[in-house]
Amino acid sequence: MNRIEIEHLTKYYGNKLVLDDISLNVKEHEVVTLIGASGSGKSTLLRCVNNLVDFNEGDIRIDGRSLFDQSFGPAALYKKVGIVFQAYNLFPTMTVLDNITLAPRKVHGKTKKDSENKAKELLRLLDLEDFADSYPEQLSGGQQQRVAIVRAMATEPELLLLDEITAALDPELIGGVLSVIKELKTKGMTMLIVTHEMGFARDVSDRVCFLDGGKIIEEAPPQKLFTTPENTRTQNFLQRIIESGRL
């Protein structure tokens, strides 16, 4: 069963074509990773899926319902789809606990008590329970990013989008964040991921898509794409990654 269906997606920034007729499906429990150089359009594609970015042509359906469907409003869409950002984007004037319980309480009508219990349970799972009353600035980047994951999970989304979630982290903090994502995969979370961490992409993905110039150039299971890529552009990209020691 397809949970995300992207069809002939085309997007311009001004005159610049950033997404060029992209079609891609993500199935139930599947983890699909988008890789490619900066400016290849992978983050834009990801943000189109949850309507943070408008697109010019094509359609996106979540569980069969188009983003253009008037009855498929923001509350319903964002209940289904969670996102974690590169820069965490936690609200600095709120405590960790308030960051996490904001959407459950204000958007989904949960009581303060219920949402806080749920939030504390999630924080405990990620060893963050001591930080419930801290402010985001008091936490390290890795801790903030794990709080951001908890915030995204607090509304119990069925699909999770990860937008370069380790790109702003110091190397020694990356592992802790990625192990959380691997844990989510074992629990069957459906995910669409943009990352520069090739090792992580190889370990966690069911399918990897290489984007270049706004097109999906090659799409294959990680064992295949990372070892015997067919397209020369994919080969060149991976060659550069290997030379810089990142795979």
């Binding site: 923001p74 964002y78 950002f85 609200f91």
Partner: protein, 282 residues
């Protein structure tokens, strides 16, 4: 938050600490005092000094008129405090109106833009005269006739336009990622403002707002042109009778007593805010 490494002075014991921390202060203080006394000696010896002193610094006159000027100053400060509260709320509303998206909010948006352009473009004094003399002259039943009321309203109208722009710059300075995060959590436009944007925007502009508050603190004296018996007016009444300007100096001293600590407080808040931002980018 990094701990500072111990200063060299601490490691070398108390005698060098005296040299490094206390001596420079002593030098500064002595230097200022020396310059002060030299200037004073020059001024006091000047031929015109006795006349200047009698005209502006007549202690007897200052003492005589002080209770009235102080009472007037109380009116200045009361108008100031009430205006501050109203401005803080009204300007925030204007900034929110201006920031609203969507075709249905166009009237509010246009209203805010026109209001800010008009009121920021006019001299406060002109507004005070227009409101303070013009509105009571209309004799519309039900409207207050007090010139303090209309004068204060003129100041509020004018300063709200500035404060609204300050709030708006604060809202613009909130990173786009915050809006994206709020949207992706399913918050609507109002909730995004209420929970994500405004708390950060207000925190970012508090130093600028305090600067406006300092400016308003002395501009409330403009109400004296309406005949409101504030500190300046009281001082002028005496001056008109005696042609001695020491009473204006009395009013000036009162204003300084109020504005200088306020300005220092603003500096302190600004500095604290700057440190907080630095820390965040580390």
């Amino acid at each position: 938050m990094k701990k500072q490494s111990p200063s060299p002075a601490k490691r070398r014991g108390s005698s060098s600490r005296f040299k490094e921390t206390i001596v420079p202060h002593l030098i500064s203080i002595s230097a200022v005092l020396i310059v002060f006394f030299i200037l004073r000696a020059i001024i006091v010896q000047a031929e015109q000094w006795p006349r200047i002193k009698a005209q502006f610094f007549n202690l007897q006159v200052i003492i005589e008129v002080f209770p009235k000027v102080l009472h007037g100053f109380g009116i200045n400060m009361a108008v100031w405090v009430i205006s501050l509260v109203v401005i803080a709320v009204w300007a925030l509303l204007l900034a929110i109106f201006r920031s609203l998206n969507g075709p249905w909010f166009a009237p509010l948006r246009v209203f805010a833009i026109v209001y800010i352009d008009l009121l920021r473009g006019l001299p406060s004094l002109l507004l005070v005269l227009l409101f303070g003399f013009g509105m009571p002259a209309l004799n519309i039943p039900g409207l207050p006739k007090s010139n303090i009321f209309w004068g204060a309203l003129a100041m509020i109208s004018s300063y709200s336009a500035y404060a609204a722009e300050v709030y708006r710059s604060g809202m613009d300075s909130v990173h786009d990622g915050q809006r994206a995060a709020a949207k992706a959590l399913g918050l609507n436009q109002g909730q995004t403002l209420r929970y994500a944007i405004l708390p950060q925007a207000v925190r970012n502009v508090i130093p600028s707002l305090l600067n406006l508050a300092v400016a308003l603190q002395k501009d409330v004296a403009l109400l004296s042109v309406l005949g409101v018996r504030d500190a300046v007016r009281e001082a002028q009444i005496y001056t008109a009778r005696t042609f001695n300007y020491s009473t204006l100096i009395a009013a000036a001293i009162l204003f300084l007593i109020a504005t200088i600590p306020m300005a220092r407080f603003t500096d302190w808040v600004t500095e604290r805010d700057r440190k907080r931002r630095l820390q965040r980018t580390q």
